[in-house]
């Protein structure tokens, strides 16, 4: 019982918050939206802080749930991201009728991811996956008045159902060929026969869909564009990050016997993803859409790191996700503030932003530089370590392609920077007052971007956990 409390603490805390919200929604009415929102943020903060205590390795429910320091860290990273998002979405949520439901759904998806990360069993993995997907579809639709929002939700739910169909087919074949749904049980019975390869590819397609790797990525841009900014951020950072964590552990531990196979799959996916993501991003005008494609390209880079299949691989991926949360959320924070106050989301609207809003511009620019991997921002270190991990396999053509893609990606980030700093605009965005909560989130992201890279011990810590 004591075990249960310590090992599943994150899940339990989140569940408690969910139930609390249910009651506030159903029973009590005296909460004003504003104060409730602040209280929720406070709870999320507690959740984040609590994550760092009582760290313990162990398994529960006969290996359906397992946890260790790395998993706890991953959950904390997700918590952090959630907190930042909830801060940056503050302005939008204040006005929203269904704010508590928003948090209920959001937290349940987070719960799903937690279970998925610490799943020791394909069943738990599948359940966590669905739990983190189905409510998200509802969340994407949370701009109830906007046509695009419901279109995006439709696209998400249908294509994810479709992909989970294939995922299940894959799982069924794995079950059929190995006779187990336990991860370690599967690992023993893998023999790399064609059917298993096929099953793996189906499973991998499910993953690729979630991390939006080419050619399973097509839903991404549309959904990101249609969804509320907060949810776009959530999709692009939290859910993607969670799936990367799972992917790493699944590939490294479960499919270790088929490492050669999955290395090739990852290689192909990675190259395609980087190229296509960048090529599409080049000609975007909607900033959310551009960030969508950029996040696709980033996924390609993460796959490079994963392909390393080493401790360095795990560490670099986790580290990069951390960095990526800061960088991407920094950008989204600016987008959220601007779109919630002016409704403008196009790059052409951002022209001459710096003149009136230097603070927002600098945050945006720094985040974009971090995404592009420019020192001294943390993004540079993230990319560097990913590529080092990938280079461990000695496939330098692959690494060169990745490196050149970094150059390609730099282009569209610089286009945004150019618009913000250099271009002139007859009707620029006027001076905006940034509310306190979004400002806090921006500060967090900024400090994260600056500190995470330079402070070497962070990476070392992650590395030590990954062993």
């Amino acid at each position: 019982m004591n075990d249960l409390l310590t090992l599943m603490k994150s899940e339990l805390i989140v569940t408690i918050i969910i139930i609390f919200l249910l009651f506030t929604k159903v029973a009590s009415k005296e909460w004003s939206n504003e104060s409730l929102l602040n209280f929720i943020n406070f709870l999320l903060l507690i959740n984040l802080v609590a994550g760092f205590f009582f760290q313990k390795d162990g398994v529960l429910f006969n290996d359906m749930f397992r946890t260790d320091k790395l998993i706890v860290l991953e959950k904390n990273i997700l918590n952090l991201g959630l907190l930042i998002i909830s801060l940056l979405a503050h302005g939008w949520l204040k006005k929203h009728r269904h704010m508590p439901e928003f948090y209920i759904l959001l937290l349940s998806t987070l719960l799903g991811m937690f279970f998925m990360i610490s799943a020791g069993n394909l069943l738990m993995f599948y359940l966590g996956l669905e739990l983190s997907t189905i409510p998200l579809a509802a969340l994407v639709n949370f701009d109830l008045e906007k046509r695009q929002s419901s279109e995006a939700a439709m696209k998400l739910i249908i294509s994810s159902a479709f992909s989970s169909g294939f995922l299940l087919l894959g799982i069924s074949f794995i079950y059929g060929t190995t006779g187990s749904t336990q991860f370690n049980g599967i690992a023993q019975h893998l023999d790399g026969s064609p059917l298993q390869v096929f099953a793996f590819i189906l499973l991998m397609a499910g993953f690729a869909f979630k991390i939006s790797a080419v050619p399973f990525h097509l839903w991404t841009a549309d959904v990101y564009e249609g969804a509320p900014v907060a949810i776009t951020a959530y999709l692009s950072v939290i859910s993607k990050g969670a799936f990367f964590f799972v992917l790493v552990s699944v590939l490294y531990s479960v499919f270790n016997p088929m490492s050669e196979t999955w290395y090739r799959v990852v290689l192909i996916l990675s190259v395609l993803t980087m190229l296509v993501g960048n090529l599409f991003a080049i000609r975007q005008n909607n900033l959310k859409r551009l960030l969508a494609f950029s996040s696709i390209a980033q996924a390609g880079f993460v796959l490079v790191g994963i392909s390393g299949s080493s401790v360095a691989g795990t560490a670099s991926v986790v580290y990069f996700i951390l960095v990526y949360i800061f960088s991407n959320l920094g950008a989204f924070a600016v987008v959220a503030v601007i779109s919630s106050q002016t409704g403008k989301e196009n790059i052409s609207d951002y022209k001459g932003l710096y003149a009136a809003n230097p603070f927002l511009s600098c945050i945006l620019a720094i985040s974009l530089f971090s995404l592009a991997g420019i020192p001294p921002t943390a993004g540079f270190f993230g990319k560097f370590f990913l590529l080092i991990a990938g280079a461990g396999k000695g496939n330098y053509i692959f690494i060169s392609i990745a490196a050149l893609n970094m150059v390609l990606s730099l282009y569209y980030y610089l286009v945004v920077v150019k618009a913000v700093f250099m271009d002139s605009n007859e009707s620029p965005i006027e001076k905006l007052t940034v509310p306190v909560f979004p400002k806090i989130s921006m500060i967090i992201c900024l400090s994260g971007i600056v500190v995470t890279g330079i402070a070497g011990w962070i990476y070392d810590y992650i590395y030590s956990l990954s062993q």
């Binding site: 669905e130 906007k146 046509r147 695009q148 419901s150 087919l169």
Partner: protein
């Protein structure tokens, strides 16, 4: 029952799966697309059950998987239909071709 080889059942499930996929590809009405997805999921259920029955009767993993799949299919269908209804409100249509504003 053992004179029916496993592969025949798998033939059935596979055929059903791809029938569902065909439906998903061709049907322009969202609700029918949903139906096709249900078909796909069911075929997977058949897989699980038959694997469990034929190969690994010692544990009930397949059975339970099936049960949970069914449950989740229900939830998924519910949310999907809710979304479709909402979309119908805004678009006055449930034809996927009409819901393609965001592109490129």
């Amino acid at each position: 029952m053992n004179e029916i080889p496993l592969t025949h059942i798998l033939f059935l499930s596979t055929a059903l799966f791809f029938t569902g996929m065909y439906g998903l590809f061709t049907r322009r009405n969202m609700i029918t697309m949903l139906m096709s997805i249900e078909l796909m999921l069911n075929s997977v259920n058949i897989n699980f059950v038959s694997f469990n029955k034929y190969l690994y009767p010692d544990k009930l993993d397949g059975i339970f998987f099936t049960i949970f799949i069914i449950t989740i299919a229900a939830a998924e269908a519910a949310v999907a239909i809710a979304i479709i209804i909402n979309l119908y409100r805004s678009h006055q249509s449930i034809d996927v071709e009409d819901a393609g504003e965001m592109k490129y």
